[in-house]
């Protein structure tokens, strides 16, 4: 087929019924402060890893809420757990624990 420079966009619909939101509920239980997130993106702005590669905690938090586990599993491994994000968070969310617990959850629920 001739390439006209256009293509059909991937379906970006979020289906909450089919998405697996267990991770979000797990995190809500072990680190309730996750509910405070307003998605301001300060964490991503300060991130140490963000200087090297595309790593965005702000995005990960969104994926966690939506239950898109595949994206999270690939991304969350990049974190160095330095803790800068939890220090700058204006809502005082323990982001470091969220990442730590997410990794643990994904590790034990492969």
């Amino acid at each position: 087929m001739a390439d006209f420079g256009y293509k059909i966009q991937e379906d970006r619909q979020i289906n909450y019924d089919s998405n697996d939101r267990t991770l979000f509920y797990f995190l809500k239980r072990v680190e309730p402060s996750i509910s405070l997130c307003i998605g301001c993106g300060t964490c991503s702005a300060t991130c140490t890893v963000g200087q090297f590669t595309q790593f965005d905690l702000h995005k990960i938090m969104l994926y966690v809420r939506r239950g898109e586990k595949v994206h999270i599993a690939n991304e969350i491994k990049k974190c160095m757990l330095c803790g800068k994000c939890s220090l700058v968070c204006p809502k005082g969310i323990n982001t470091r624990n969220i990442i730590f617990q997410t990794r643990k959850f994904l590790h034990s629920n492969k």
Partner: protein
């Protein structure tokens, strides 16, 4: 040979406890490798053994360190340990002199008064009578204090005491029964045969006036023997295991044993040396701020000892090391906690592939400056450092100016050793390629891991050490700004790395430093330590406020620290809660930069 069936509970208990303890000793020592076992043999046949014996005498029997913490508490502990030791020693000598044999049955000294009604006619007979009663009185006075302590712990300088397990309670009860029962049994015997000293004889006479002593005497000796037997059987399973373990701990420690990366036999000795005395409870800031108690060393070591699975106690700790400083036994809780965190959490979870493609370049320089992640959050510190480097005309390279690779300690303290090593390798490569002879860092967290784990062959300094040297050598000439300041010791720099004098020396040149209530080894943690994972914002704020309040008691102009994380925490605590009248929180480098202007 004298024998009576009532000695059986004591004898059986003693045999059981000796077998169990020897088995434990055997397991501890033989779980180590041959080379390490040789260290023990070497120690025993060297002159060092005298210092070991001295330490055992001072700590295990006299409890010198507990005396230092609180004299009444020390008296209580030593009355049991040293008193009981003297009672056994005195009884043995007395019974041997009496029987004119070097060897008699092992229970005879314990039940001497029952078997020997006529105790005159050997050297110092009356002296022994007096002495043995005096020792018993010494122990009983300690027992009274122990009972009072259950009700009025503040008298002993303790706000909180440990909660006991059932086994501990049983062992405690039998221990408390032993000495009153001995007094009773000896008094009842003395009432009939007058073989007691000033205490038992008089007490026996009083009892004789109101009780049928000849009927009660035999049951009393049975009860005394049973109390001893029960205590012995409980001992290896209770907190009282610390009695036979602490000696081993002192010997092994002197022989150079340490808990490092693995949970070894020595770690086991450390864990079982904990008597759960509770001295560490008041030192813990997480406990006093949040009232959560699972991570307290006393309970944490208990859960390790009995293999209780529970992660709360493992992760909910700042690893600030205050508890280690006050521990009268000197147990290295932080090392044990780290080993246990490694066991639980060290699965490979991270993927740092992106670091390989990163184009972080090495620059040739004499001095490397590594600011650290946290310093990038407090940019005035790194600006001051750069300023000072330029003033002192140093050929330096700001290693993590643009893109910083974390030093790895935040991962390491959570037990993710493997992940931390990947980061360490990357940094090590950069450092080694620069050809520098000195690495200066602004962050005590990085400083500690550089020093302990990186195995770099260049000098590593925290900026307090480095700046102090620059000032001493005349490369920087600060003026005295004459403000009043308090210096806060960051955990990883003070307790963690033993750097106390350099920042104080440096600060004394530019300011007047106020004394603090908790300084140096006992300095408070700011509460933001990366070692504590579950503590949230509120918990950390509580700890920070408490620490800030104490630091600002003397109303200083400046609160000076040497750690970007402490600085950030205290800025928040002091400004938002209006602690201290207009106190300004600064890093020591910022202050020096101002003074050098």
């Amino acid at each position: 040979m004298s024998y009576n069936p009532f000695v059986l509970p004591f004898s059986i208990g003693l045999v059981i406890v000796i077998i169990l303890i020897l088995w434990k000793y055997f397991r501890w020592v033989f779980s180590h490798e041959k080379a390490e076992q040789k260290k023990i043999v070497k120690l025993i046949f060297s002159f060092k053994i005298f210092s070991v014996i001295k330490e055992i005498f001072m700590e295990v029997l006299l409890h010198r360190r507990i005396f230092k913490i609180n004299p009444v508490l020390g008296y209580m502990h030593s009355s049991f340990a040293f008193g009981w030791f003297l009672l056994i020693l005195g009884g043995t000598v007395e019974s041997k002199l009496h029987s004119h044999h070097a060897f008699n049955m092992f229970y005879e000294p314990i039940f001497f008064k029952f078997f020997s009604h006529n105790i005159n006619g050997f050297p110092f007979a009356n002296g022994f009578k007096f002495l043995m009663d005096l020792i018993l009185l010494y122990i009983l006075s300690g027992l009274v204090l122990a009972m009072v302590k259950r009700l009025y712990k503040r008298m002993f300088g303790m706000k909180k005491t440990t909660k006991l397990r059932l086994v501990d309670k049983l062992a405690l009860t039998s221990l408390w029964c032993i000495f009153p029962l001995r007094l009773l049994a000896e008094s009842l015997t003395s009432a009939q045969y007058h073989n007691g000293g000033f205490l038992t004889d008089n007490f026996g006479n009083i009892l004789a006036a109101i009780l049928p002593v000849n009927q009660l005497e035999y049951p009393a000796w049975w009860a005394y023997s049973i109390a001893l037997g029960v205590f012995f059987v409980m001992l290896p399973y209770s907190r009282y295991m610390h009695i036979p373990t602490e000696m081993v701990l002192i010997i092994l420690r002197k022989a150079g044993f340490k808990t490092e990366k693995k949970y070894t036999g020595f770690s086991r000795v450390e864990v079982q040396s904990c008597s759960r005395c509770g001295v560490c409870l008041d030192a813990c800031q997480v406990y006093s701020a949040t009232q959560r108690n699972k991570m307290l060393p006393a309970y944490f070591l208990q859960s390790v000892r009995f293999n209780k699975k529970g992660k709360q106690g493992l992760t909910d700790c700042l690893m600030c090391g205050r508890c280690q400083e006050v521990c009268p036994v000197g147990i290295g809780v932080n090392a044990i906690r780290r080993v246990k965190r490694n066991e639980v959490f060290d699965e490979k979870g991270a993927e740092f592939e992106y670091l390989k493609d990163s184009d972080s370049k090495t620059k040739k320089a004499d001095v490397i400056y590594f600011a650290g992640c946290m310093t990038h959050l407090t940019p005035t510190i790194k600006k001051s450092m750069v300023n000072l480097f330029q003033k002192a005309d140093v050929n330096y390279w700001f290693m993590d100016e643009d893109a910083s690779v974390c030093c790895g300690r935040p991962l390491q303290v959570l037990g993710k050793e493997k992940d931390a090593n990947i980061l360490a390798d990357k940094n090590r490569e950069l450092i080694n390629n620069s050809g520098a002879t000195l690495l200066v860092t602004s962050c005590p967290i990085c400083y500690k891991i550089f020093k302990e784990e990186y195995n770099l062959n260049i000098k590593i300094q925290h900026h307090t050490e480095y700046l102090n040297e620059l000032v001493n050598s005349g490369k920087l000439k600060p003026v005295n700004l004459n403000f009043s300041a308090v210096y806060h010791d960051p955990c990883d720099l003070g307790r963690g790395s033993g750097i106390y004098s350099q920042p104080r020396e440096l600060l004394s040149k530019i300011s007047i430093t106020n004394k603090l209530e908790n300084e140096k080894e006992m300095a408070l943690c700011c509460g933001s330590s990366l070692a504590n994972l579950p503590a949230g914002f509120d918990d950390k704020e509580l700890m920070a406020i408490k620490a800030a309040e104490e630091l600002c008691k003397s109303n200083p102009d400046y609160l000076i620290t040497a750690c970007p994380l402490c600085k950030k925490t205290f800025v928040q605590a002091c400004n938002e809660r209006k602690i201290g009248k207009n106190v300004k929180v600064k890093d020591i480098a910022e202050m020096l930069a101002e003074a050098v202007m």
